[in-house]
Symmetry: C2
């Protein structure tokens, strides 16, 4: 894409009301726009990045047998009354509104009720199970405070998956698969090393749930990280767990962390409340055993920025970067840069081409802020030797590459 | 995809409260689920189809220079108060809700206000224009009645584009491009011949807007179709237009139609109200000239069903069908069907494979209901001659094709 055509502009200053570094950088770089506290719109670069993250999640969830659907935001109260979660006192993040005939409806903050209710039309026998259903769908959560940029918002796309199994054993097998899929996802998003499996409260449903917590001072959660293995305990269950559930030792470090994902055994709470039953091979009617599995792609995006930025700007991992290459035409290099741009497009290389009328300084500063993995500079000087100057966003080394070798160089520089 | 794995089941009977044929068929085939009047969820086959429609629209809108973004649903009242559309009396389809601090927020039913407001941060000079920005985003509209299935819903994904031009001439040039893009889109969706450009009210903004009306008894609109050319006049402006604006003749046929798209010149109404100005080449400050362009992918999906179904079920055009091929294993053909399924996947052919334990009758009936373009049946009889029986959903002819020739046959049978 030609940057002269991109409608967003970078800004030197962050918005004064943003305290989170990720929100400041994403706003300054024109990835997002703040509509109000806790509500952001995604501009072209931000949407490209968000969609890359979604694609990674979709691929890994499909690989463990997920089937994608798309449920509605508007919620009939009936199934929520059955589960006991319609009341604002029980679930304190509801947004509610009214139909013209005064009927109160909710905006979905999660979908256990709606999906369990829906499945009664499609599940009756053990042959219909297990099922793993997921979506990328907009959730609305009426947070009391929303001061942490994109890390806690009132409206966000969530990947929520729900598993429907015939018994505990089948549930647990899938739960482990989902755990591994989540590890793969965060690894592919570039934050695997800093993200730890964390034992958390199981609510009224089960003993524990599991969170994926990314270690960061920007995080709102407090966890206790085992000093020996890559596992942690959420503060909320620290009194119940004195030893690491994985290695048994008792020394922990207190850390702040961002909850980037969570998986939750639900047991039969919702299937019993909403009457989702199946007949097993012996002809016995049983409630379906459920689990839920969430990741917020936008919160993941902000977390990547929190963990991987430097003083100059963002540093996107290749798999989620909006573009692979940022091509900069500096004075005297315009003609060769134009040619390179065309050849990159032809080769299917995702390239943002800074063809703007701007100074070299502005272009280089913006390139650092935007954080695209490979910067390719073409100027009078580089053209003189039929070369381009290549720099990885993660390093300082400048490398001169022959123009004719650039395409293969980029393919290898993953 | 293996049909034994697909979680939805077909139903023999439609829901009794649905009068629209498209909703009945989409519900029976398990493409959608009705959450409440005017609110539907998309199940795997429905979501696949919806995403195909979205992909067609995205391609054509990108081709005329559209840049994709994603705005929020939650709406701050301030810009709407400036445009005069915050009041429920002016805009009678608002859903409103409240933040914890009692601040009233709206759920977006359209995005002129939010986007015009946002652009003030990115547009200042003539060099920043023109811009064509669009999204696929969930709209909420509090319809008084919602009795027409997926043709009029309270929550739906809309492709809404907004154009920002420097003057009327530049606006009109893009408006014509958008008109042609819309024609291409409806042609690719398989309803081009039945969809007519219709002159409609321009509201308070301009003399006329243009709708794309698909001729159908299920439609809620009344239009007057010129007897000579492929153009119509919406009933709402019939008193103002006695002659066809295209060919000048005065004979019309009254028809019911579904509004599948509309394009709307907005003039400077929103840019003046919200102060979106730019400085032109002569240094003069001017308001931006705007237009808006909408298509509802789900309404398009329902319209395709209305126009193309037959007594046995839906008939999807290849470009939007959830799968290209419906492979049916009938008794004695299972082993060869398994092999074919693998070879189709290997060749990248999108195939739904009916490997269920069901009777031949059930499988054939479901295939007609689901409406996938090519049906390939493998049975003991066809295997005996190393063949499969192929039938297009649009025809009656059964064709015997050698198993080894099937892949190339399918590629050609577009």
């Amino acid at each position: 894409m030609r940057q002269s055509y991109l409608f967003t502009k970078t800004k030197r200053e962050a918005q004064s009301d943003e305290t989170s570094v990720s929100a400041q950088l994403l706003l300054r770089a024109g990835f997002v726009h703040k509509e109000m506290a806790g509500v952001y719109s995604f501009l072209p670069l931000g949407l490209l990045t968000l969609n890359k993250i979604i694609a990674v999640i979709r691929e890994e969830i499909n690989a463990i047998g997920g089937q994608e659907l798309l449920l509605s935001s508007l919620q009939d109260s009936a199934p929520w009354k059955k589960s006991g979660r319609w009341s604002d006192e029980v679930l304190d993040i509801w947004f509610k509104t009214k139909l013209k005939n005064k009927t109160e409806v909710g905006l979905a903050n999660t979908h256990e009720e709606a999906l369990t209710n829906l499945l009664r039309h499609h599940v009756s026998s053990w042959r219909d199970l297990p099922l793993y259903l997921y979506q990328f769908q907009t959730k609305f959560r009426n947070e009391l405070r929303s001061k942490n940029g994109l890390l806690r918002t009132r409206e966000f796309i969530m990947k929520d998956m729900y598993s429907f199994s015939r018994d505990e054993k089948e549930h647990e097998e899938f739960y482990e698969k989902a755990k591994n899929a989540y590890k793969t996802i965060f690894k592919r998003l570039g934050i695997g090393d800093q993200t730890v499996l964390t034992f958390a409260s199981g609510g009224s449903f089960s003993e524990f749930s599991h969170e994926f917590q990314a270690l960061s001072e920007a995080g709102e959660d407090t966890i206790f990280l085992c000093e020996k293995c890559h596992v942690a305990i959420n503060k909320e269950v620290k009194d119940r767990l004195t030893a690491c559930p994985q290695c048994g030792q008792e020394a922990f470090k207190e850390r702040s962390a961002i909850e980037v994902g969570n998986i939750f055994p639900l047991g039969v709470k919702f299937s019993e409340a909403l009457n989702l039953e199946f007949v097993n091979e012996k002809g016995v009617k049983l409630p379906v055993v459920m689990g839920s599995y969430g990741i917020g792609p936008a919160r993941s995006m902000a977390t990547i920025v929190e963990l991987l930025h430097d003083a100059k700007g963002m540093v996107w991992p290749r798999e989620v970067a909006p573009f692979t290459v940022h091509l900069l035409a500096l004075p005297g290099g315009e003609k060769e840069a134009d040619k390179l741009y065309d050849s990159f497009l032809k080769e299917g290389i995702e390239v943002l081409y800074d063809d703007r009328e701007a100074t070299a300084g502005e272009k280089l500063t913006d390139a650092d802020l935007l954080g695209i993995p490979l910067r390719v500079v073409v100027s009078q000087k580089t053209v003189a030797t039929k070369e381009a100057e290549v720099k990885k966003r993660t390093g300082e080394k400048l490398e001169m590459v022959r123009l004719t070798n650039l395409v293969s160089y980029i393919a290898e520089a993953a």
